[in-house]
Amino acid sequence: MKARISQSILVLKNLTAFLPLMLLSIFLVSCQANVSGVLGSHSSDQNSNNGDNGDNNSGGDTQDPNEANAGLIGPGAKDYRGLEATLTAVTGIPRTKYSAIKDYIDQNESSLPMSKYLSALSSTQILATFNLATKYCEFIVDRSDERERFFKGSSFENLPPPNQSLSNDTQKLKLIDFYLGQFWGPGVLATQKQQAETDMMALLNQTLEGQDLNSSNTTKTVLYAACSGILGSGGTALD
């Protein structure tokens, strides 16, 4: 009996000795899983099986020179599968839902990016990406059911005319930030967001110039232009 008790004490002592190590292991495993699951600047990666670039927005990841040199030029763009998955994720419109989108992809598959190498990204591929984004924007803006779903909770759900919804910088920023939040997600860097706001403000002003500010159609045009500019940009197409 005595021997049995001392054996149990020994086991407990060993367990106690290994406990911190076990806890540390569990913690590290959970962190590792968390890192693998972190999304980039938008939620596409989980849909595109493309989650390797999940720590894009960590803002401070240090580079191991050996890893950096593993590829002559690292990936930085999305291939067409990643791109489609991203557009679907951020707009909520599956590629197969509307024939105009599906047809565009089918007909322009050879023009969309095939590799993830930034250096292999050509201007024709960029244009094909941009033009695909405009297709998604058409449905977000034109179809009332998609518009209501997408803009739910914003002031643009019911297409108020510009003199009510886009008459000052605060209102315009609301639209820009709404799009940035939807398309680029919360991980966008503050400096990048600020620059994007400036660029988009210029676009909104130019699009509104000379237009009927009492017309909802003008709002539609602005929504479409802003959507195309942001959704078609590198914020969506690059990792």
Binding site: S110, S119, T207
Partner: protein
Amino acid sequence: MIIKKKLTERDKLEYLTHGGRTKLNRRDFLTRSTAAAVGYVMAPSIFSLIAKRAYGEDLNCPNQGGGNANNNMMAHLEYAAGGGFPLCREFVCVGPSRENGDFLKSYEKYAIPDDQGPTKNGFDPNSTIAGLDFHNGSQLMKAFDLHINPGVKEHMATMAIAVQCSSDTTQNQLSITHSFAQLGLTGSVVPLIGNSTLNPGGGRHALARGTQDPSIKSTLVKDPDTARSIGGYNQALVDRLGTPDRAQAVLEAMKNLSVDKINTLKNKFTVDDQAKVLAKCGYMNAKELPFRYKPDELYNAADPDLVAAFGDDVGAVHACIAELVANRYAGVGVIAENFYDTHDGTALTSNDQGLFLGKKLAQIVNYFDSKNQPLHLNCTTDGTMGVLFKDGVIQVEDVGDGVLRAKHPGDNSLCAILTLVYDPNRSASDFLVKQNQAQVGYFDENGVVLDSSIAANNPSNAALASLYNYLALNNMTDKMSTLQGMNGKNPFERKEEDYLIFKPKA
């Protein structure tokens, strides 16, 4: 707390070769396995990287979508049949001397009954193009002669490469379309166009061994609409915003936002500064490209030169592709015909295809003539058509005007690359090294003699031999060994006399 995921060697390899780890479905896996089997990897070629680095270094951002349209080089087109068009029934295949007149004992395996073959009857010297002789009754040549403009043939020559092919079109490595961008023939808008997406080369055939450059993408052109849109002009965007200026402003915003993103790019592998510069150039060009080349400029079916050359075929795919290449918007073009396979057991269908091809070729050359542009055009097919014999007797049909041709029951492996060249600044006799010789490798009465050249039993080498002749025409044979896939060697150099049919311009 920042936790850095340690990458395994496999991760690194995956990034290096495929740009990231992705789950593969069966089709992807098969595609990649096939790709690996033919000897290319998905990483950008060193050549293309060097070329693009040079673009980045001068920071002028030349048109990355196309680049510098090298107007000094001949344009290149590939007319690729999707099945077994009997090319070898049209021109006179010759024997070991490779000289015209070295007729085979019989052309029955080539679908021509001995009574009508050249051995007994010769051929009409007027119905030919410098280089190759064509059979009496060749429908291809008949149609070509009917449609070619007067005087154009005087600036043309032909050659052929004997090659045994598989009857599986997509596996035959007969395409060389990716090599031209490396030589500077990139087009001002896109480097490569084609009406088929079956292969990365833009057509139905696979690319010659090792020549695939992943940075070259074929842009689909299948009709006037797609021809007009290769510059990326988005008519819907312009219509919705009211003016091109506003559409341009959207693209400007898109570019600015992208450049901001590039400046902050960070991922597991450092994206080097050159890549960032190149991507910025890509976005800058993307902003300008659609407005630099508007649809009407790229393809206008009412253009008098187009109408004159193509007539009712002005909207056909060969017209669209020829127009974009002749005007240097695209570097190289591939016309893939889907219906050459004439498995109906007749001679007539193949005959009609010969008429069809002859007419299209003449239209294309006429258009290049109207633009004063030199042209190098390869006709390829995946084997010709078998011939029907009964009890050893060839089974023929009258295809018109008393011309007899064999019935074709199905594919065979007798094949050739038939090349036509046109240069308004050269006369027919200026093209050929030897006036009486226009054939690489040779034939006998049973088909291609497999040891007659390194191309005879190797479609990839046949395509490269054609490329070598293209380089000769352009005074650039020294570039052969530098091209991707050549590993610093020119396999034809040691026996130039066997492989060089065309010669440089004096």
